[in-house]
Symmetry: C2
Subunit: 335 residues, 2 copies
C-alpha cells in the first residue's frame, strides 16, 4: 500500500479538481491510499455522488488556506491549521506515508518541506526539480530550480546524483544524460563555481555526465537532466517558458490582424491544439522536491484533475522505484 497526502486547496481549481483527481487515482491504483487535507465539509460535498473505496480515503480537517501572495515563512508559521501544513505534518509524523502532492504556493511548500519534513540521510540541501517537454518528445529535469539559491559545488554534485535517480525512477530514463548549465560548451567555461564543479561531475561514476549545457539547448532533447543552482535554474525555466508564451501571443496577435491569416489559422486549428497540448507541462507531472525524507510533488497552480492525478501517480512511481532509498545510499556512500 502506498499512502499519499493530498493538499486539496490553494490551486485555481481547488478543491474540485483535487478531489476528482484523488477518486480517479484510487480507481486506477488499487494499492493506493489517499489522505485529503482541507475544509472537511467542503471536501465531503465534493465527494458526494462519487464512487470510491472508503477504506482507502481519509480526510484531515484543516480549514485555513495559504495564498500564493503570502510570505512563505510567515504563512507556514501562522497558518498551522492550513491544508498545506496539515499535509506536511502528517507526512512528517506518519512513517507509513510515502509522499504528498500540493498545487498551492510553491514558496510555502518548498519552505515547509525543507524546514519540517527534514532531509534524507547524506543530503546537504534539498533541490526542487521541475520537468519540461523537449522537442524530440522526451522530458528534461531541471535540478535545482527553486530550493537552494546559494550553492556550493558539493551541493550541486549531489543535485546531479539525486536528479539522475529521479529521472530514472519517475520517468524510466535509462542512464540519463546530465548537463551542467554553463555559458559555453568548453570545460574551462563559467564562473568559479562551475569551473570547480565540472571536474567533479566528470569524475562521478554514478551519473552519465555529458558536459556543459547552454541555455539554448534546454528543449533540444540532447540532455535528460540539467544541473544548476536554483538562481540560474529559475532564470532558465522562466525565460524559456516566457519566450514560448510570448511567441504564441505574438502569433495570435498577428493572425488576428488580417482575414487571410485568420483563414490560414482556421486550416491549422488542429495543429495549434496539438502544439498547445505538447507544451502543456501539466501532462508531464509536477515538480518534485529531491533530498527530503519523503517525496513532495508540487503541481502547477492551474492544474486540472488530470494533472493532479499525474502528480499523485508520480509519488507512487518514485516510491515503487525506491527512489529515496537509492538517493540516500548513493550519497551516504560518498561520505
Amino acid at each position: 500500500m502506498v499512502k499519499v497526502v493530498l493538499d486539496c486547496f490553494g490551486g485555481d481549481n481547488s478543491p474540485g479538481a483535487n478531489v476528482e483527481a484523488a477518486v480517479k487515482a484510487l480507481e486506477n491504483n488499487k494499492e493506493l491510499y489517499i489522505i485529503l487535507t482541507g475544509d472537511e465539509a467542503n471536501l465531503k460535498a465534493e465527494l458526494e455522488n462519487k464512487k470510491f473505496d472508503e477504506n482507502r480515503l481519509e480526510i484531515i480537517h484543516a480549514p485555513e488556506i495559504i495564498g500564493c501572495d503570502e510570505k512563505p515563512t510567515d504563512a507556514i508559521r501562522q497558518k498551522k491549521n492550513s491544508s498545506m501544513i496539515a499535509a506536511i505534518d502528517r507526512l512528517r509524523t506518519d512513517d507509513t506515508v510515502a509522499g504528498m502532492v500540493s498545487v498551492g504556493s510553491t514558496g510555502a511548500l518548498i519552505a515547509a518541506a525543507t524546514l519540517r519534513v527534514g532531509r534524507l540521510e547524506g543530503v546537504m540541501r534539498p533541490a526542487f526539480c521541475p520537468v519540461l517537454p523537449t522537442m524530440n518528445g522526451g522530458v528534461i529535469g531541471i535540478c535545482d530550480s527553486g530550493a537552494t539559491v546559494d550553492c556550493s559545488a558539493e551541493m550541486m554534485h549531489q543535485f546531479a546524483i539525486m536528479g539522475s535517480v529521479y529521472m530514472e525512477s519517475a520517468f524510466g530514463v535509462k542512464n540519463p544524460r546530465v548537463g551542467l548549465l554553463n555559458v559555453g560548451a568548453e570545460e574551462e567555461k563559467g564562473d568559479k563555481l562551475r569551473r570547480e564543479l565540472y571536474p567533479v561531475l566528470k569524475a562521478e561514476k554514478n551519473i552519465n555526465f555529458t558536459g556543459n549545457m547552454e541555455g539554448r539547448d534546454l528543449l533540444s532533447g540532447k540532455f535528460d537532466l540539467v544541473v544548476c543552482d536554483a538562481f540560474s535554474g529559475n532564470v532558465l525555466v522562466k525565460s524559456t517558458e516566457g519566450a514560448c508564451l510570448e511567441m504564441l501571443k505574438m502569433l495570435k496577435k498577428n493572425i488576428y490582424s488580417n482575414w487571410k491569416y485568420k483563414l490560414g489559422a482556421a486550416l491549422q486549428k488542429k495543429m495549434f491544439t496539438h502544439i498547445k497540448d505538447f507544451m502543456n507541462y501539466q501532462n508531464y507531472g509536477g515538480s518534485v522536491m529531491l533530498g527530503t525524507r519523503k517525496t513532495v510533488v508540487k503541481g502547477h497552480g492551474s492544474s486540472n484533475a488530470k494533472a493532479i492525478q499525474v502528480c499523485i501517480e508520480q509519488v507512487c512511481r518514485a516510491e515503487n522505484a525506491k527512489m529515496n532509498e537509492k538517493i540516500s545510499t548513493l550519497l551516504c556512500n560518498k561520505e
Copy 2:
C-alpha cells in the same frame, strides 16, 4: 569627425558584407572616417568598383583571422597580426579613434577589449550588453551578459548605471526602466548577491530602478534594461533565443506534416516574414562593451551589410551622445 575601426574578417559574410557596410555608412554619415583591418589585397578587391570618399577610408593590412573555435586568450596572444587584434591595437593607441566594430569571435573580442583597451576611469569591470526586441516594439538591454561572470554587488551597481546611460545614448530611451534579474518580484527574493544589491539600486538616484525582473518578463516590454551577472545574463539571453528558435522549428515541422497546414501557412507567408524580421536582432544593432575606454561593438557572426552598418552607426551615436564621458563622470563621482 568620428573615427571607427572596422574588423573586416571573422563573420559568415566577411569581408564582403563588412566592406559594403563601410561604404554605405560613409555615404550616409559625412562626419565618419573608417579604418578597415584585414588582408589588404582582399579588401582592395572588395572596394573595387565601389564609390566612396577616399579621404575618409583607410586600410590596415592584417592578414590573420581569429576563428570562433579558437580559445580567446590563446588567439589574442598568438594572432597579433589578425584583423581583430590590429583593430584593437589601433583603438588602443590612437586617441582620435572613437570605437570599433567586429563580427568575429565574441570571446576573443571581449577578452581583447578587456585586456588591451583598458577601462574608463571609475569602472571596476566592463560589461557586455546585447539588446533584444520586446513584444511592444521596443528594445531591452541585458547588462552584463558576457564579460564578468563572478560579480560583486558594487560591480553590478555600476552595470546598472552604465547600461542606463547606454540605453539613453544609443537608443534614445528616456529614463530607462531598470530591472534586477531575480527569482521573484519581492524585494527579499534571491541569493545573497541580489539581496545585497536590491537596496543599493533602490537608493541610486541616477537610475530609474523599477524592481526585480523575472526571466519570463524579458520580452514583455516592461523593462528597458535588466541588470545581471554575466552568468545568469548569458542563461537569460540564450534560453530566450533558444526557446524562440525551437518554437519556430516546431511550427515549421508541424506545418510540413499536412497539406492543410501547408495551405494555411501559404496564406500566412507575409506574416511569417514579418515575424522573422521582427525577431531578427541584426536590425537592432550589436552588443556593446560598456566601461571600456572606447566603444567596442560586437555584431552577430551572421551579420549582413545592413546589420554591420547599424553597428558602425551605433558607435557614432554613442560618441555623439558622449556616452563614455557620462559614464565616467557618474562613476567617478560615486567614489
